[in-house]
Amino acid sequence: MTWSLKGTYFESCNCEVACPCLFLSPPSTGECEALVGWHIEQGSDDDVSLDGLNVALAVRSPGHMATTPWTVAVYVDERADEAQNASLMKIFGGQGGGHPARLASHIGEILGARKVPIEFTVDGGRHALKIPGIAAVEIETSSGQGDGPITISGHPLCIAPGFPATVATSTHLSYTDHGFAWDLSEKTAVFSPFAYQGDA
């Protein structure tokens, strides 16, 4: 089985900038509420093409992210056909090995998986994700020295290893589903390219 995914991802959470969880510190408010989105630019799983599809996860950890199991809700692009859907579920569910399997090992409970329209837009440093009726997120790059980007690399809790993460701030993060209602702004966010592949 060989699969690989390349694209761009971002996460928008409830911690203050920059998220302490990345460094395995406790979350700012003691718990983590995060929305993570991936846009697959180039992807394949054996002979199934995954180009252009989007995946999003709503993650909640009631305590320290390294030691408390996460509660997760899954959203898969409704444009995915059955084979693509199965591949994405397998990979992001951790069954395909690779880095997603390591991330998935933190998951304690799945609240559900939905096939929904996911609109993922990137405009320079501005990243936005919209799932009608469920989520609306928008983040903007934070300004660093010389008005350049601020980056974090080598962080232990990393969604996209191998790429420095650019630090951003959320314009807004609203999420309503599975009994959660998040409504945040001016909190931490990061984005970067990502590349995952199945362990050979």
Partner: protein, 270 residues
């Protein structure tokens, strides 16, 4: 709509007790095996190759006797340290649990435990050499397997106590204490990667505990009470929050005990 949920399951599915038992079966069997073998050796020292002849005639250590010491130390280190490595091995097993398709999860977990044992095997090689040398030099009793020379006990105690304060100890202890930090920053794929990670974890453990293991020379290498006390201490130091304070307090006690032994040694002339 719920079809999307079929293949995406969380911990309650992949980390079922049955699955975890399968993944952890081999390291658990190794640990219990080591305990049993250690018990046999303590119960009857002649089961250790070369041990009877070494006890009779400590001068002139031969290869068989050295191999016997090496075996003894390896089994003892495995018995004592595998339980302390349990949090790390379990965390690694949880990550393997998700890799259902290849089904080689249990082999990787065994390889991880194996790498860990190999590291302590290397330590055992050195410890056996030290014991053999000290016995030959009559600094150590071949019967009780402990130092006969009080100042030497004192030095070992002081070294162990001082080490509790050193930065290297702190760094190694930190690496041992957070499985997530270790696994996210030092991950290597596959069975060979597992072996390598287990070995690395073992090296950190040695970095943390080598001086405490030296205390076995003071209590008597195969002394059951000493073995349990030291292993128990290492485990508590690892899992207790606020470990730095705890490690330093123990360090002070060891230094005081060491100074007492040194003093007593010079006063009593032993």
């Amino acid at each position: 709509m719920m079809r999307a949920g079929d293949q995406f399951r969380g911990a309650e599915h992949y980390l079922s007790p049955g699955r975890m038992a399968l993944l952890l079966g081999a390291p658990v069997a190794l640990t219990i095996g080591a305990w049993i073998y250690l018990g046999v050796m303590i119960g009857d020292m002649s089961t250790i190759p070369g041990m009877s002849s070494m006890m009779m005639n400590p001068q002139g250590l031969n290869t068989v006797q050295f191999m016997g010491l090496f075996l003894m130390w390896s089994v003892m280190m495995s018995s004592m340290m595998l339980p302390t490595a349990a949090p790390m091995i379990v965390a690694y097993a949880r990550m393997q649990a998700y890799d259902r398709r290849r089904g080689e999860g249990w082999r990787a977990v065994l390889a991880f435990a194996g790498g860990y044992i190999l590291a302590w095997g290397a330590f055992s090689f050195v410890a056996a050499g030290l014991q053999g040398t000290m016995t030959e030099l009559s600094a150590m009793s071949p019967m009780l397997m402990k130092t006969i020379w009080e100042p030497l006990s004192g030095v070992i105690l002081v070294v162990a106590g001082v080490y509790q304060f050193l930065p290297l100890k702190r760094v190694c202890l930190k690496q041992c204490q957070s499985p997530t930090a270790f696994l996210s920053t030092r991950w290597r794929d596959g069975n060979r990667g597992a072996l390598s990670m287990g070995w690395q974890h073992g090296l950190f453990c040695i970095g943390c505990c080598w001086a405490l293991m030296g205390l076995l020379f003071v209590t008597g290498v195969m002394n059951t009470a000493g073995i349990i006390a030291i292993a128990g201490y290492v485990l508590i130091e690892k899992i207790m929050p606020g470990g730095k304070w705890f490690a330093r307090s123990t360090g002070i006690c060891l230094i005081l005990a060491g100074m007492w032994a040194l003093g007593a040694g010079f006063v009593l002339g032993t």
